[in-house]
């Protein structure tokens, strides 16, 4: 793509974000040609739950080296369970489940409790080591899910409702400051997705297992909303914190075209329910992907 065309796409992407009342960063990468387009692709972002993708890759790599057994059954008692609105996190009774099933819940419904069982098992240092091995030097986990929720509570003085009306509080939340929370860059996360799709992040069987989990993620409102085409597959992992809405994933077309996309947004409004901001992630991703696709008749 010519420089002028890239510039035009970036202008349109910025307009999509602005119209939705958000500031956006994005990196889209053609998994086969290496063509790319980005906005703020190398600036740090607070990753929120998209970091569960790093956790998942780490779990698979440790399974590859037999450092853990994915079929091992673990007890997840009610006491000490990380809270959340989905999966084990919202259940009321003790649960016994395999590590790989916990992983499936952590990815498909962003289950905070399941993810923290895995974080506790592999350690933050383990996740960071795996990312370094994959060449992701700016991707860093400093919090488990429960630590992350605890800092929000501390920073709000125990009253999260204040977040909705006091913008000053938003500026003081550690989880929104990439220097002080789990972090990465859009480009590093598309690079991680590329490694996963190229079977370079773990063994092909375990990579396929992860790709399948990502394809079965339940949320349709972000990345997938930009591709309402039944023959296009969208696999992804969302991330959400006050004012933050993210999704990283891969879009696959029936003609073989496949694109890793990482979209990170920050809304001016603190409201939790902002459908237009969610949909902007899909719209921006589609514009970016379309700019990378070779128009029919011009293919090699």
């Amino acid at each position: 793509m010519s420089g002028a065309a890239t510039g035009a796409v970036r202008t349109r992407l910025r307009a999509v974000f602005a119209d939705a009342g958000v500031t956006g960063q994005l990196h889209a990468l053609d998994l086969d040609s290496g063509a790319e387009v980005g906005i703020g692709a190398d600036s740090l972002v607070s990753t929120a739950s998209t970091h569960k993708l790093c956790l998942a890759v780490t779990v698979q790599r440790l399974a590859d080296t037999k450092a853990l057994d994915p079929t091992e059954q673990v007890e997840v008692p009610v006491d000490g369970r990380t809270p959340g609105g989905t999966g084990v996190a919202m259940l009321r009774d003790p649960v016994r489940m395999s590590l790989r099933d916990l992983l499936a819940l952590a990815l498909t419904v962003s289950d905070n409790a399941a993810a923290d069982v895995l974080y506790d098992r592999v350690g933050l240092a383990g996740v960071n080591r795996a990312m370094t091995e994959l060449g992701l030097t700016r991707t860093l986990a400093v919090h488990t899910g429960r630590d992350l929720l605890a800092t929000i509570d501390e920073d709000c003085g125990g009253d999260q409702a204040r977040l909705l009306v006091d913008p000053g509080l938003t500026t003081r939340l550690r989880v929104l400051d990439p220097e002080r929370t789990n972090r990465s860059t859009p480009r590093e996360l598309t690079r991680l997705l590329a490694a996963l799709w190229h079977d370079e992040a773990c063994t092909p069987e375990r990579a396929a297992e992860l790709r399948s989990m990502l394809a079965h993620q339940v949320w349709p409102h972000r990345l997938a909303s930009g591709f309402p085409f039944d023959d296009v597959r969208v696999s992804g992992k969302t991330g959400t914190l006050p004012t933050l809405r993210h999704e990283v994933g891969v879009v696959e077309y029936p003609d073989g075209g496949r694109y890793a996309v990482a979209v990170f947004t920050r809304a001016a409004r603190t409201a939790a329910n902002q459908p237009a901001a969610d949909a902007a992630i899909g719209t921006a991703a589609r514009l970016a992907v379309e700019s990378l696709r070779v128009p029919p008749g011009r293919g090699a």
Partner: protein
């Protein structure tokens, strides 16, 4: 070697992916740009680009270097901005902005308050919308601003966030108003609201609140000029939102909204890196005092403590 200049060349070539286009953008000859990139590569002992028939592709090493180069340029720009400030009048100037909607009494109090508080520092005040203020703050051409929330506050520090309820300006039909007006009673009327592109988030927030309380405007009319807004209200079919302090024209009347569902929030703002600058701190204090005294505003924390939340609490948590 002028490192910053060479790094700028490097980033331009990386962004354009092509020496010719980067040279055109930089307004220099391509061979000269090529030589400088080679110079930079020699300096670091790292090959930054693969020269191909399609252009210049970043090497893996170049990609890693690019990640460090961009923040370096941002800091260099900040340094340049600081130098310009120092040159243009030592610490003697504070470049600040206020939004167009700010009450004139507040603006007047702000200017005189600053003058009294700091005889040594001159306040250069301009009128700017929120988006322009954010851009200028980031670029370093503005030292402090006054923002109507919500806006993206990443990277900013805020002064005390002040709040006041908005009411409705409706045509005066002569009947004595019986207490506060429920927002839902306005349903079917047209609403005059500032143009959405000038503040999409605030625009969306106001409309979401209207709908949440049963007011679905017939038409949302984009307008912010006081004469136009007044004209539409006086025409009899439209309403507008305004604080109690705003002057109401003859033929229209200001009505309090039941439950204060709409909250106007305003604060001063500056780059977090300017935290602790005495002139900025004075500005923040003066803005807070002017908003309180002439705008009838109270700290948003007090509004929260009084249980008068402008926004509902989400049913579920945020994190997914």
């Amino acid at each position: 070697m002028d490192l910053i200049k060479h790094v700028r060349y490097f980033v331009a070539v990386a962004e354009e992916g092509h020496f010719g286009r980067a040279a055109a953008r930089l307004g220099m000859a391509q061979p000269s740009l090529s030589q400088r990139i080679q110079r930079l590569e020699r300096e670091y002992g790292v090959r930054l680009f693969d020269r191909t028939s399609r252009g210049a592709e970043l090497t893996e090493g170049g990609r890693l270097m690019l990640a460090e180069a961009r923040p370096l340029l941002e800091r260099a720009d900040a340094l340049e901005g600081m130098a310009a400030r120092v040159r243009s009048g030592a610490a003697g100037l504070l470049r600040a902005a206020v939004p167009p909607e700010l009450d004139s009494a507040v603006v007047a109090a702000l200017v005189s308050g600053f003058r009294e508080g700091s005889p040594g520092v001159r306040l250069e005040l301009r009128e700017r919308g929120a988006q322009a203020q954010l851009a200028e703050l980031a670029a370093g051409s503005l030292d402090a601003g006054v923002l109507r929330h919500p806006v993206d506050v990443a990277g900013l520090a805020l002064g005390e966030v002040m709040s006041r309820p908005l009411g409705a300006v409706v045509p005066d039909d002569g009947s004595a108003p019986a207490g506060p007006l429920a927002l839902g009673e306005l349903t079917g009327r047209d609403l005059v609201l500032f143009p959405r592109p000038s503040g999409p988030a605030l625009h969306d927030e106001i409309l979401a609140t209207c709908r949440r309380h049963g007011f679905e405007p017939g038409t949302v009319i984009a307008g912010r000029d006081p004469a136009f807004v007044t004209g539409m209200v006086l025409s009899g079919t439209a309403v507008a939102f305004a604080p109690r302090e705003r002057e109401v024209p003859a033929g229209a009347v200001w009505r309090e909204l039941a439950g204060a569902p709409l909250l106007e929030r305003v604060s001063s703002a500056w780059l977090r890196s300017r935290q602790g600058d005495p002139a900025v701190e004075l500005f923040a204090a003066v803005v807070e005092a002017a908003l309180a005294e002439y705008g009838g505003m109270i700290p948003v924390a007090q509004t929260v403590a009084a249980g008068r939340l402008g926004a509902p609490v989400p049913r579920l948590g945020f994190t997914v």
